[in-house]
């Protein structure tokens, strides 16, 4: 067999391999790719009440470079649960320290997803810092959060209040991105101050659902951009091009008060309305966009 025959045989072999390989690939059942891609690594850190018998207050400090954080109430009796999931290596670092009846949990992770579960029998101070990513915070049931601070250089966030939680002070601060506030806490008690500041992006405060004895005041300012609010169930205190302040009629006499302060540098703010409502109204508001 000479060199030409060998070379020719290789070429024909490649052609046949390509034909057979392509045929097999097409004939095999190909499931739709899983999305998000399955995580390769998962670490769970759980603090149980028996591990911290004298603790009543928990300081939770989380720092992530990139990824998503989800915080919610646990159905079980626990102090905390941190569930890290990631696709790449780089184990998170979690430290705990108890001092004067206060448990401090600090977690540092490079990236991935983090699920945080909080118990109902403790008072929490939560400080989350993300360089780039998203957060979904569901303060629900009887969660007692004294302070909630979230800082993200870029990303998106969602904060919901449901059931009868206690949230004294929340500060959500984003460099660029968007935040949605969804308050449906009809059993809300006490006073609460929610501050949202976004340098560049948008904030949506969805229509609020609060008990009749809860007073609510919302103040929003936009340096450059648009601001839209729906004064339904609210009294307009101030309304200008770049700022607005609305409050419920019972605000001054209410025992429980919810104060929402929104500040956006460049971008837009929607108060007491859904984004979908605004999009639906667009053809009327901007007839040139509504077609013929």
């Amino acid at each position: 067999m000479n060199a030409s025959t060998v070379a020719g045989s290789i070429i024909i072999a490649i052609l046949l391999a390509g034909a057979v390989g392509a045929g097999i690939n097409l004939s095999l059942p190909q499931p739709v790719a899983a999305f998000p891609a399955p995580t390769k690594y998962r670490e769970v850190y759980v603090g149980k009440p028996e591990d911290y018998p004298n603790v009543k207050k928990v300081n939770l400090e989380v720092s992530m470079e990139m990824g998503g954080v989800e915080l919610k109430a646990s159905g079980e009796n626990l102090v905390y649960m941190l569930g890290f999931s990631r696709k790449a290596s780089g184990k998170p670092l979690v430290k705990t320290e108890v001092s004067d009846g206060v448990l401090t949990v600090s977690a540092v992770a490079a990236g991935g997803g983090l699920e945080i579960l909080l118990g109902r029998n403790y008072v929490y101070n939560v400080d989350i810092s993300i360089r780039s990513g998203g957060f979904k915070l569901a303060i629900s049931d009887q969660l007692q959060v004294e302070s909630l601070k979230v800082t993200a250089a870029s990303g998106g966030g969602y904060l919901s209040l449901e059931g009868s939680p206690s949230l004294k002070n929340a500060e959500l601060s984003l460099g660029s991105g968007g935040v949605v506030l969804d308050v449906k806490a009809e059993g809300f008690k006490g006073s609460s101050k929610l501050t949202v500041s976004v340098d560049s992006g948008g904030v949506i405060v969805k229509p609020l659902k609060l008990a009749g004895d809860v007073g609510c005041r919302i103040k929003a300012t936009v340096e450059s951009g648009g601001l839209s609010f729906k004064p339904e169930n609210f009294t307009v205190v101030e309304s200008a091009k770049n700022t607005c302040e609305i409050q419920t009629s019972n605000y001054d006499s209410a025992v429980s008060r919810l104060n929402i302060l929104v500040s956006v540098g460049k971008g837009g703010v929607l108060i007491n309305q859904e984004l979908a409502d605004v999009i639906r109204q667009m053809p009327q508001a901007y007839p040139q966009m509504g077609g013929v």
């Binding site: 000479n2 060199a3 030409s4 025959t5 060998v6 070379a7 020719g8 045989s9 290789i10 070429i11 024909i12 490649i14 052609l15 391999a17 390509g18 034909a19 390989g21 392509a22 045929g23 690939n25 097409l26 059942p29 190909q30 499931p31 739709v32 790719a33 899983a34 999305f35 998000p36």
Partner: protein, 212 residues
Amino acid sequence: MGFTGRIGFLLLNPREAFKPENIDSRGLGEPFGLLVAFSAVIGVLVSSLLLAAVRLFAGMAEWFGFEVGSLIASVSIIVSVAVTVCFIILAVVLWALISVFTHLSARYLFKGSGRYSGALKAYGYNSVLLSPTVLGLLLLVYLPGLAPLSIILVVISTVWLLFSWVTAVGSYYNINGGKAFFSAFIIPLAFFSLVALAVILPLASTFRGFAV
């Protein structure tokens, strides 16, 4: 020399293999068959990659609540056949057109000696140099992690194909390398560039009209 020997000879000694006495003595069926076989295999492999990309987007769509998995499964064979047929038609059209322009240039502009059928056969035989592309695409389908190697193989295939095609034209028409390069590459490229301009310019002016 048997079939595999002829194919190997094209790779190892193209100057000799594409001489008129070796090309004109062969029929048109073999080079045409090789061209169709290679373009069909590349078409099927490309369709596999396209479907893999579609499945990825379908995964995202399902994540958002759109049930498209069954739809993708039912149309995958149709997509594969359509892409493969398109590749074969495109290859045959390019085969005829490039051979025409090469023949006109080499035969009449540079006074070479050779027939149009010879140009067609040379082009058809030259398609065996698509084998590194087949290998690269096969790797990409089964081992996506080796994508850089696949890209290298496709680049090698393209450069080798062009070099061999210029050599084939020079050898078959008995013209020097510069004339062969002009006939085999520059003239067809100029034609396709003119066609592209003829299509793009009216489209561009139409869209400019919309913008105004």
